[in-house]
């Protein structure tokens, strides 16, 4: 823990290779700032990524970094975390890397609750391969591989995470500095798998796909910033209420009894995930429980310390001696 580090200390000499104007730049800045703010150190931090524009991330952070193969970062990060539970292990992935080819590893990292921080840059497109639709692309997305519009119903990252048994789901917008740092600090503090969906603007292949709620000019009415224990208010005098007859969330006037955000409530979290307008941001769901890599050692009698030598084991149960 080294409080004097600044965001600059987490920058590398490498030239950043994203398209000019890509949302990834803002995310990079926010992460570097958060690392400094939480007092992380480069040597005890590792960024593991798959393949994609998002996955270029590790090259630009002064820490240990591994740009692995497509979709496998959570599995590799699990092994790294088991090898060295003291590391801060961050996984950076994209909507294709994480939810298309990598879905199975995300599922199992989440249900095991491995102590890693997963940042999914969701731009609803395959950027690096030049713009095909992705598993989060909306129905009807026209792309080189879906010239007539895509058929597939997109997967909801939030519903997927909770369905997989995840204990932490948060959301932030690439360029929203405050929202990003609020979420990233919570991620760093969380035990177990923390998962963040970051709405990231791909200006080349999917420009402004999130503009309806990310546009600053109308943010107050389109964004619901959640804070645990605080009422769900947004816009001028609007709020969210649970409707027990329809089992859904209604937008109501602030004075009607508005829901107070309880981030441990999975029922409400799932309704918030599906809320179309306003879009729920911040920590939608959080239930800290002991993580897998911690338990892996804690629950093992010798914590895998070498307390005996192979020499003691060679003979087995029934040896015999020949003179």
């Amino acid at each position: 823990m080294n409080a004097v580090l600044t965001p600059k200390d987490f920058a590398t000499s490498q030239e950043v290779r994203w398209c000019p104007g890509c949302g990834d730049y803002a995310i990079l800045k926010a992460v570097q700032k958060a690392l400094a703010d939480v007092g992380a150190t480069p040597e005890s931090t590792a960024f593991i990524s798959g393949i994609g524009c998002a996955s270029r991330f590790p090259y630009y952070v002064n820490s240990y970094g591994f740009h692995t193969i497509h979709g496998r970062a959570p599995a590799l990060a699990t092994g790294l975390k088991l090898a060295n539970p003291d590391l801060d292990v961050w996984v950076v992935t994209g909507d294709g890397d994480g939810l298309s080819i990598g879905g199975n590893h995300l599922l199992h990292a989440l249900r095991r609750n491995v102590d890693i921080n997963i940042l999914l840059f969701n731009n609803e497109i395959y950027g690096l391969t030049k713009g095909q639709y992705s598993p989060t692309s909306r129905v009807g997305t026209r792309s080189p591989s879906s010239p007539a519009g895509s058929l597939d119903t997109p997967v909801s990252p939030g519903q997927f995470v909770l369905g997989a048994g995840g204990h932490f789901f948060a959301r932030a917008i690439d360029t929203d500095k405050a929202g990003m740092s609020h979420v990233l600090e919570a991620v760093h503090a969380h035990t177990g798998t923390a998962f963040v969906e970051i709405f990231q603007n791909c200006i080349v292949y999917n420009e402004n796909v999130f503009a309806d709620f990310t546009d600053r000019r109308n943010a107050a009415n389109t964004q619901l910033h959640l804070r645990h224990g605080e009422p769900m208010l947004f816009g001028d005098g609007k709020g969210i209420r649970f409707n027990p007859t329809t089992y859904s969330l209604d937008v109501v006037d602030a004075d009607d009894d508005v829901l107070v955000h309880d981030e441990t409530n999975a029922v409400i979290a799932r309704l918030l995930i599906d809320l179309k307008m306003p879009v729920a941001l911040g920590i939608l769901f959080r239930q800290p429980v002991a993580g897998y890599s911690a338990r892996f050692y804690a629950e093992h009698p010798t914590r895998f310390e070498r307390t005996k030598s192979v020499a003691d084991y060679l003979a087995g149960p029934n040896p015999w001696v020949v003179e």
Binding site: E43, Y64, G65, A83, G316
Partner: protein, 615 residues
């Protein structure tokens, strides 16, 4: 009695339903044989089904053991004694026997229903189909139930004991003490006292049955000499057990913890099961969601400074190949164990084969060479696990260790190695973080002798760097699309694997003269049968343990022989490698039946070659 002149040994085969406890009976007989200080080799041969329907031909589970004075290196071609619990077991085993062999039958298994299931129209005990054999049929089922009735077990529970009744009879035939088996039982079933006592009662009853003269007339008892083994402590060990100990040993020799990440698959699972119990030796296991996750977790662990090991069989290794390429590119150490089984695809999961050699040597995209080694015997699995790890750490590369289903399950006596004599396992020294060079350069500052880079792991101050699967600059380790650099890196990766040859032992002759007409060159688990065949035919024999790269002296060694015969349990894959690497053209002998070579088959082929050579 064994027909083979050179060796005083007996081959016993137990056969019955999967539910009859054949494998347990066989392994207990092996333990007793071991403790009696006899040489032996075993071959468990069971169906793919967990508990195939009773009485069916495909459901027959068998356990064959060859025991005696030795050297014994295979479970034997033909049983001298067959114990058959039902008609199906008899029918399946009969073709293996030679005339005069002893057959012990369980009358109670020969019901009309079972005879029908086995496709017998008439009871073979009544017609003359067993005329050439010496047959002893006993009401094993009934006698066993009497022996255990005191313990108030249900009929089916009581019936479960009949394998021990039969074992007792066999122990009598081989003049064995009951105590060792009883103490094993006492320990195994300490939490099930009733079952324990019943099993022991059955064991004694079977022994008594032999004793009380009812049999001694018809059955000869075996007085086998004990082999003149080098002095030392011995144990019975399977390849899976030996490889597990080898992995733990590698960790100890490298003074690092081990993570074995795997996904269950036949016949690789036993390694996972054994390693899961070696936590005290610094071995952790991780059962991943699939083979891709397993290899990636192992790579992650290696990146983190543990010895990363993963294992599977062919179909699972296929899934791992993309990630193995990443380990090659990232220059990380990794050991991949392939317990080969019958292919293609799901193939014959419980049968043995050597058909993943192509996959190991050539089976990756890109120019992606890596070292490949193979274990020759159950005990050799211990040493080759250490060797594979040694190479992986010295050269910072993934290494494939080939074993197979036969080695995984077979048990042999093993003389305990002098572990304190094993050399430590090391990798390139770590750089001085403060010598002014960028960490990225440190990370790829390779040893020109081994091309191994320093194993810098997250957590080390001042050495932060980035690695990945994109081509990187040969000097700085940064991403590079430079054409000349890619050429240089491709050559470096090839040179690294070639450099392994500077560190491995030269190929030596196992048996026979070191030049002559015929050399039999094997690899992997064919060691046993080839050894015997060479012994009996007097030709020379050598077994490859290092397949990529090949030992430097192999070419000259092969050149000293007129003909080189290469028997393989595949369609000629090592021959391809030899043609490719040495430009030689050996005689290929292939067997792809899911069964190990029979000594007889090899002897015949060698004899044929000899007469050709003579002619």
């Amino acid at each position: 009695m064994s027909k083979n002149k050179e060796i005083e040994s007996v081959v016993v085969r137990f056969a019955g339903d999967s539910g009859d406890g054949i494998q347990l009976m066989g392994s207990q007989f092996a333990v007793s044989t071991a403790l009696a200080g006899r040489d032996f080799a075993t071959f468990p041969d069971y169906p793919a089904e967990i508990r195939a329907p009773t009485g069916t031909l495909f459901g027959v589970s068998a356990y064959q053991i060859n025991l005696g004075e030795g050297p014994i290196t295979t479970a034997g071609d033909a049983p001298d004694v067959l114990v058959a619990f039902n008609p199906a077991a008899l029918k399946v085993s009969l073709p293996l026997l030679h005339p005069g062999s002893l057959i012990i039958l369980n009358n109670d298994g020969f019901t009309a229903r079972n005879l029908a299931k086995a496709g017998y129209d008439t009871d073979p005990r009544d017609d003359d189909s067993l005329a050439n054999f010496q047959v002893v049929s006993a009401d094993i089922g009934r006698l066993n139930l009497e022996a255990v009735k005191a313990y108030g077990l249900s009929k089916s529970e009581g019936d479960q004991c009949k394998n021990f009744w039969t074992l007792g009879l066999l122990l009598w035939m081989f003049n064995r003490k009951l105590e060792p088996v009883e103490s094993v039982l006492a320990h195994k079933l300490r939490n099930k006292p009733v079952l324990r006592d019943a099993d022991i009662a059955a064991l004694r009853a079977g022994h008594a049955y032999g004793e009380t003269a009812e049999l001694s007339a018809s059955v000869r008892r075996y007085h086998l000499h004990s082999p003149d083994w080098p002095p030392g402590t011995y144990r019975s060990i399977t390849g899976a057990e030996a490889l597990a100990l080898g992995v733990a040993a590698a960790g100890e020799l490298a003074d690092r913890k081990v993570l074995y990440a795997s996904y269950p698959i036949t016949p690789a699972s036993p390694l996972l099961h054994h390693l899961a119990r070696l936590g005290e030796l610094g071995v952790a296991t991780f059962q991943a969601e699939d083979e891709i996750a397993a290899v990636c977790a192992a790579i992650g662990a290696a990146y983190g400074g543990m010895i990363g090991v993963t294992g599977s069989s062919g179909p699972g290794i296929a899934l791992k190949t993309e990630a193995i390429g990443l380990a090659v590119s990232a220059e990380l150490p990794l050991v991949i164990v392939n317990w080969q089984r019958g292919g293609p695809s799901t193939g014959l999961p419980t049968k043995t084969e050597q058909s993943d050699l192509y996959q190991a040597v050539y089976g990756r995209n890109g120019d992606t060479p890596l070292p490949v080694v193979a274990a020759a015997t159950t005990g050799d699995c211990f040493d080759m696990a250490i060797e594979a790890t040694r190479i992986a750490l010295r050269h910072m590369t993934p290494v494939i260790l080939l074993a197979d289903g036969y080695l995984s399950n077979a048990a042999d006596p093993w003389r305990l190695p002098e572990f304190d004599r094993y050399a430590k396992i090391t990798s390139r020294d770590l750089p001085d973080a403060d010598d002014g060079r960028p960490a990225q350069v440190h990370a790829f500052d390779r040893d020109p002798a081994t091309w191994g880079r320093p194993w810098i792991t997250p957590g080390m101050p001042g050495l932060m760097h980035r690695i990945g699967g994109l081509e990187k600059d040969i000097a700085t380790g940064h991403i590079s699309y430079d054409p000349a650099n890619h050429q240089a890196m491709t050559e470096l990766r090839a040179a690294k694997v070639e450099s392994v040859a500077d560190y491995i032992p030269p190929q030596t002759i196992e048996l026979g003269p070191d030049s002559g007409d015929i050399l039999v060159l094997g690899w992997g688990s064919t060691y046993g049968p080839i050894y015997q065949a060479a012994l009996r035919t007097g030709v020379s024999f050598t077994q490859l343990r290092y397949i990529n790269p090949l030992p430097k002296n192999l070419a000259s060694l092969l050149a000293r022989f007129g003909t080189v015969l290469v028997p393989e349990m595949n369609n000629g894959q090592l021959v391809t490698v030899l043609r490719d690497r040495l430009g030689v053209d050996p005689v290929s002998m292939t067997k792809v039946s899911g069964q190990p070579f029979l000594i007889r088959e090899l002897v015949e082929r060698i004899q044929a070659l000899k007469s050709e050579a003579a002619a």
